[in-house]
Subunit: 615 residues, 2 copies
């Protein structure tokens, strides 16, 4: 075993990266905002999730394979629900060991292991329904499930020290190498994620053929292989229209596209492939410029759960799948490691707070699959995923809930990196961070409060402490000295144990306009404060206020008021707005209140909007 | 046989309507705009269509049933392509008899007839694929196909005098009465249209049980019958969430919703059900107010081909299916007959010119299934229906092409009605119109020219001539006297043979704003002239003009210039626009040219937009 770093991206010593993760041992959340989210995840989401695995039949599928009695339940990618839950349980155990949590995951692991074929193959739905392995690469999700299994197995090993799931993963990976490696056949599967999983398994085992296979999978895409199967397939949907290296903007199914890019970034790091990193940077920029919501959300189309065309970003029909936010955060993290550029850490902040977090209720018991930015008063609740239904306890396609669980359990891992230079802080949270010869404790009321107080607990001689200054943080100060927004600032003195470092990020309210080409929000602004996007929610308004008739005056006076108290320290924003009349009705001035977007729909569900037209 | 009116909606003598169709014998197009469209339909679309019926295998399905050798091809509703083509051929034959056209349709009719089961059942795909009749009411389209068969059979009888297809239709209808009539079981099918077909078959045969069955199908919807089949079904999609009489705004799949409403209007007329007419008027108004594009197009969502929520009308992701425009014109026509209200004739004008006609190339050889109102420069051509692919010769789901064919062939039928009072002209075209004791010839360059010259050829004593004044036609004059826009004007003198009546509709350019609640086009205007909506198309602009960067100045001077000549007499509009710069680029003034929306994508396909932001 090459490394024991307790982290989802344990880059090897030889990897070509600027920054290195500190792992979960180097980043522990001890209080504040994310601590509360992790408590809900541990106390509610993860136990609920296990119950759902049983109830929905996806776990039973493994038993049915083993016993030979019964039929497959759930969609073709059902196994992945189980694996993502296992990953969540492993990271949560790493955060805070608990015998029941360990027993539960080992129990699930045993059920999984029993379904594996002697040659390593494992995919219960294909085993139960079709019998033909790799027979429908576009639609079956055998490699997708394998990728999530690899991630879960590595998490289990790193998080609990147990090898049961890792043994299953290695057998399956060896089987894949035989099928699709240098002596096998070229293969493109419809849903990427195996690339990330294989690289991580390589990192955990040192088995180079896994990395090579991941590289093959990255480079075999975009050359028409899926069309050999079925010439009618829409290659765009499958991220297979163009090779990864020629893609300048992600397209098609959003989750597939960002998972693929994240896996390619992993390959690039381990293979030292700078050309690939550069191509991925271009692609990321194409996404950020013209295909990303102000919340960070990704995917403008329900049809095909897809990125739309550039500047096609309707708030009302935003798909912005919770999984896409998670995948993009994974991609951004790998780009941050590779390049050391602050814009990727800014993206992670936005993706986690404004795109992923709205996907789960604050109690941890319900989930949004789709994250709209606008819900009208008469919105139809036609489908399970309609925002008008509010968050749901689970879904027929249950990819998002366990994806949130594994991400929240391991979120501390995004907070910091280390390098020969010292420790870099990228995300602000209350906790202990350690790496690059520096150990600090951070106290902060972030994301509501911009005061970040850092206490140095240890500092190797010459090691430096570097802090991200978000691009929005004009006027930020570090130890009283103004620092430039949109980059990193380094404490310019020798660090000593007991030193205090004060970062102050101004929380002035900002009115954000979209690019002029985003037709759907022309003449409108979004309200932001610090790292948070705000939304008007009906429940906070006085009787008679109609959200879709509100207009923001020329120079609004926006006042900070206590938030609804859904999260400790939350801040709401109050301002005078104009409510336009229809027909003979006169316009009138009303008071409007906005709350952080991630808090919406936690007090029932009703009309909501992020973008507000100017008067 | 009760009536021989050569018309798709031959209301019976006892029907409760204000106005009565004059049929194809009472409305003949002799020149001008629609004459050219009908020529393309006859010379290109209909012969092409027959070839496609053969090539796509949907006709072969009937042969396979008869011979017992082979498999079904195409979607579950494949039979309906054949029926709609038969209807088109019949109306075209009625317009201009031709031996080959008759021989072709009788040939197809024989193939169809040979597949019918002894008890009258007919649905080749169900016969070939499943064997179980009415086994999947939500998704199989047995009644949908039957409805189109009934319409085709009636058209064949009325248009050619032949009874071969009518015999098939009557056998099938009798079978349906046995299955689902008073002694049968309640039944709701996923895709309405059988209601219209059954009423027309009742009108043609006098068989009352067909009307009663249509009424049952209308009233059985919206009571959860589909949920008895599968509780997971989205009833909204199937127009089955609410009873028709309680629906205040159409929802779900747009074509299904408007076909159902049109069939309900047929039932209401023949059953004298005023309550139902009133409910349908409320529903129509709900659609027109908040769920209809400026082009008349219907359906804001690709997902489910559906109406969106009220005011959800994105131009770029407009679905605006060609079939939905046709179905809505059918509905509006029935509402016009029932109420005599001009707004329904205004709707038909817009639906035909700005929503249906864009669905077919001016040569008649290619079709849009989806009618976008905005195509960006970098738009993806991911799916068959993407606007970036331009019109297509045919589709895997080929509902739209033959729907256009049957509508264009019989379009004259929408032009006029008669009543005890005399003749009413609703649509302006060059041709001979006769009814209510009045016969006239109309000459006009409409829809480009607002001069409508009417010559009276015959007039029964006391019979009056009434003309629609479109709601947009402020300043219209009838024989020099100003008449009010948005209603009807009657010639206020005794008509004599040889009289000339001059209607003048002002063709001033109008800048149309959407309701303030339509977020997607906030701050933008659409350009209209007469009955036509205009669009900016890249091909008409100078090099360097970027459509998505154009802004309309405060007081634009819009000049009429000759159109591209794709249609005789077409008019383009030219104006100075501001092209905004991005980054350091300065804004600059450019000349922009707009053409009638229905003409777009007839000279290749490129960027296009209907809504133009104001500077």
């Amino acid at each position: 075993m090459a490394t024991a770093l307790r982290h989802p991206t344990a880059v090897t010593a030889g990897a070509d990266v600027r920054l290195r993760p500190v792992g979960l041992d180097g980043a522990r959340i001890t209080g504040g905002f994310w601590h509360a989210r992790q408590a809900a995840n541990r106390d509610v989401s993860i136990p609920d999730g296990l119950r759902r695995l049983h109830e929905s039949g996806v776990l039973e599928n493994f038993r049915v394979v083993a016993t030979g009695e019964g039929e497959a339940r759930g969609p073709v990618f059902a196994d992945s629900d189980v694996y993502k839950w296992l990953e969540a349980a492993a990271w949560e155990y790493a955060r805070q060991p608990d015998e029941q949590l360990l027993a539960d995951q080992l129990d699930v692991t045993r059920i999984v292991a029993a379904a594996q074929q002697p040659d390593g193959y494992l995919d219960t739905v294909v085993q139960l329904r079709r019998g033909r392995r790799y027979g429908d690469p576009a639609h079956d999700h055998e490699l997708y499930c394998a990728g999530h299994l690899f991630q879960a197995a590595v998490a289990q090993h790193r998080g609990t020290g147990r090898t049961e799931l890792l043994d299953v993963a290695v057998r399956l990976a060896d089987h894949l190498v035989r099928e699709f490696g240098p002596d096998g056949r070229p293969y493109v599967e419809g849903h990427p994620v195996v690339e990330m999983g294989l690289v991580e398994l390589y990192r955990e085992t040192g088995e180079r053929s896994y990395l090579d296979l991941a590289a093959r999978f990255v480079d075999e895409r975009g050359h028409g292989l899926l069309h050999e199967q079925d010439s009618q397939l829409d290659l765009t949907y499958f991220s297979d229209r163009l090779p990864v290296r020629q893609t300048t903007s992600p397209e098609g199914h959003a989750v597939r596209a960002v998972y693929l890019a994240a896996g390619a970034a992993d390959v690039a790091a381990e293979a030292g492939d700078e050309e690939l990193v550069d191509a991925l940077a271009v692609q990321f920029e194409g996404m950020a410029r013209a295909k990303q919501y102000v919340t960070g959300g990704l995917g403008a189309r329900w049809e095909g759960e897809a990125f739309g065309d550039p500047y096609e970003l309707p708030p009302d029909r935003a798909y912005a799948e919770t999984c896409a936010a998670i995948g993009a955060a994974q991609w951004a993290w790998r780009m941050l490691l590779a390049t050391g550029e602050a814009r990727y850490a800014d993206q992670i902040e936005r993706l986690l707070l404004d795109a992923m977090l709205p996907g789960v209720s604050l109690r941890g018991d319900e989930f949004f699959y789709v994250n709209t930015l606008h819900l009208r008063a008469d919105a139809s609740a036609d489908t399970e995923r309609s925002a008008a239904n509010g968050r749901r306890p689970w879904f027929d396609v249950a990819c998002c809930p366990p994806n949130v669980m594994r991400t929240v359990a391991s979120v501390a891992a995004y907070a910091a990196t280390e390098s020969a230079d010292g420790l870099q802080l990228h995300q602000y949270l209350t906790g202990d961070l350690r790496g690059g010869g520096v150990a600090v404790h951070v106290e902060t009321g972030y994301p509501f409060d911009g005061r970040i107080d850092v206490t140095v607990n240890e500092a190797r001689d010459g090691a430096r402490l570097t802090l991200r200054i978000p691009a929005w943080a004009d006027g930020a100060t570090l130890d009283g000295r103004e620092v430039e927004a949109g980059g990193y600032a380094t404490v310019d003195r020798r660090l000593r144990s007991g030193d205090r470092v004060e970062l102050r990020l101004p929380m002035a309210v900002r009115l954000t306009r979209a690019d002029e080409r985003v037709d759907a929000v022309r003449g409108s602004v979004a309200i932001e404060r610090g790292p948070l996007v705000y939304a008007l929610e009906q429940v906070d308004q006085a009787d008679g206020v109609v959200l879709d008739d509100l207009r923001l005056p020329e120079r609004p006076r926006i006042e900070e008021v206590p938030g609804p108290g859904l999260v400790e320290g939350d801040v709401a924003l109050r301002f005078a707005a104009i409510q336009i009349g229809h027909g003979a009705e006169p316009d009138r001035e009303v008071s409007a209140t906005a709350v952080p977007y991630f808090e919406w729909a936690n007090r029932g569900v009703g009309p909501m909007r992020v973008w507000i037209p100017r008067a």
